[in-house]
Subunit: 216 residues, 2 copies
DNA sequence: CTTGATTTTCATCAAACGTTGAAATAAGTT
DNA sequence: AACTTATTTCAACGTTTGATGAAAATCAAG
């Protein structure tokens, strides 16, 4: 594969990422992607296969680098705490920080990608294909770590807590700007630091409340 | 409008609701909806206008009865507590219970509808049209109530907390069944009572942790 | 420069898309 | 019953869809 081909392919993937994130899988045509990439229609098929393959490629491209870092952070906080179990806040941070920091400082490509993930995650049609395949294995590792951090917790509570965390995180990516309007400008979702410093304690408190039934 | 027409219209709306929820707005064709409703294609336009109108009608149909009840529950818990401010858990309950109970016991139509709402909520293209128009006014009332329940909290924290709650709730509707597999059968998302008894304390704890910085 | 592989262009395919007008039927009213 | 309105059927419109085969252009290597 020559150099020209490589950049063409990347232009197609970038355009596809942008449009898929904005309008969903079915909301975009291959021709529209080709036009946005300033490329002939046939080149999309030549470089990226059919529309389904193109979508999966777009989805996988950043998932790999993302989950590699998340796993590295999880292991790091594990080793840092050893032989004690890792701290809950650190686990949640390892889960969310690589995403939020890229959403804030990774450029428009990353921001669009997260919007795409949010859409896939909330789509009955796409979630079973994309999310379970590329993210669930990682999730299981995080669940295991949380189990260590909260040894008295019941599995059912842990899974549900994770589920709520996943929802809160996901919506943050999907709705860039909507909370800003709702709050009349008080919240700025572009300021991901302010999101992060709230999401972690919020969800950690939820985990603890659910998993340690101090009172009930 | 005669009786036959009324049932035809309802068959179309039901079919549209089901298919939109499964595959999204662009993932379904008008012809497909007509086929599922066992109705001629032209009848879709005759009874429900163009595809955009059909979608909005489907979206609005249940939103009205839903938000009416949510608002009633909010006012009820307000009056119950008066002159004291309402309890945070009661406010969250008023926000979530009408949804969760219908998802559990309202039948397949309601379950599909919530999946549709989840999709719309996480779509950059559809959220500004559907959610802000039909749900945001209600949300502002809940925000106001929470402000009373947590008088020391900063607005920014309240809005973000609401945002996380919205995400957790939304994903629950979108992913019926996925947490079940992820947890290896430990969680049963069909058992909405078990969701509800976790979601309320989880998010309430998050709210409190964020809005009352006891330690930091 | 020649040769062979890679990449791009161009034209086209059958199928499905949203929408509609006009004719046919059913329902409602006097 | 006659007449009007509401509903349903049927056929078709112009576009757009995803996909591809064959030719043209570009590139890599000897």
């Amino acid at each position: 594969m020559g150099k020209a081909a490589h950049t063409t392919r990347r232009r197609i993937l970038d355009a596809a990422e942008k449009l898929f994130a904005e309008k969903g899988f079915h909301g975009v045509s291959v021709r529209e992607i080709a036009r946005a990439a300033d490329v002939d229609v046939a080149l999309v098929n030549y470089h990226c296969g059919r529309k389904n393959d193109l979508f999966e490629t777009v989805f996988l491209r950043r998932a790999e680098v993302l989950n590699r870092e998340r796993l590295a952070m999880l292991n790091a906080c594990r080793e840092r705490a050893a032989p004690d179990p890792p701290e809950l806040e650190d686990i949640i941070d390892a889960f969310t920080h690589p995403l939020l920091t890229r959403s804030a400082r990774g450029g428009a490509g990353w921001r669009r990608y997260f919007a795409l993930v949010a859409q896939v995650n909330n789509s009955p049609e796409l979630a079973p294909i994309g999310m379970t395949r590329y993210f669930d294995p990682l999730v299981q590792q995080f669940i295991a770590a949380i189990r260590e951090a909260l040894p008295d917790a019941r599995d059912e509570d842990i899974y549900w807590s994770y589920h709520f965390l996943s929802g809160a995180l996901t919506l943050t990516f999907a709705q860039t700007g909507r909370i800003d309007k709702l709050s009349g400008g008080v919240c700025r979702s572009s300021d991901l630091a302010s999101v992060h410093e709230r999401l972690v304690p919020y969800t950690a408190a939820g985990f603890r409340r659910l998993c340690k039934p101090d009172k009930d």
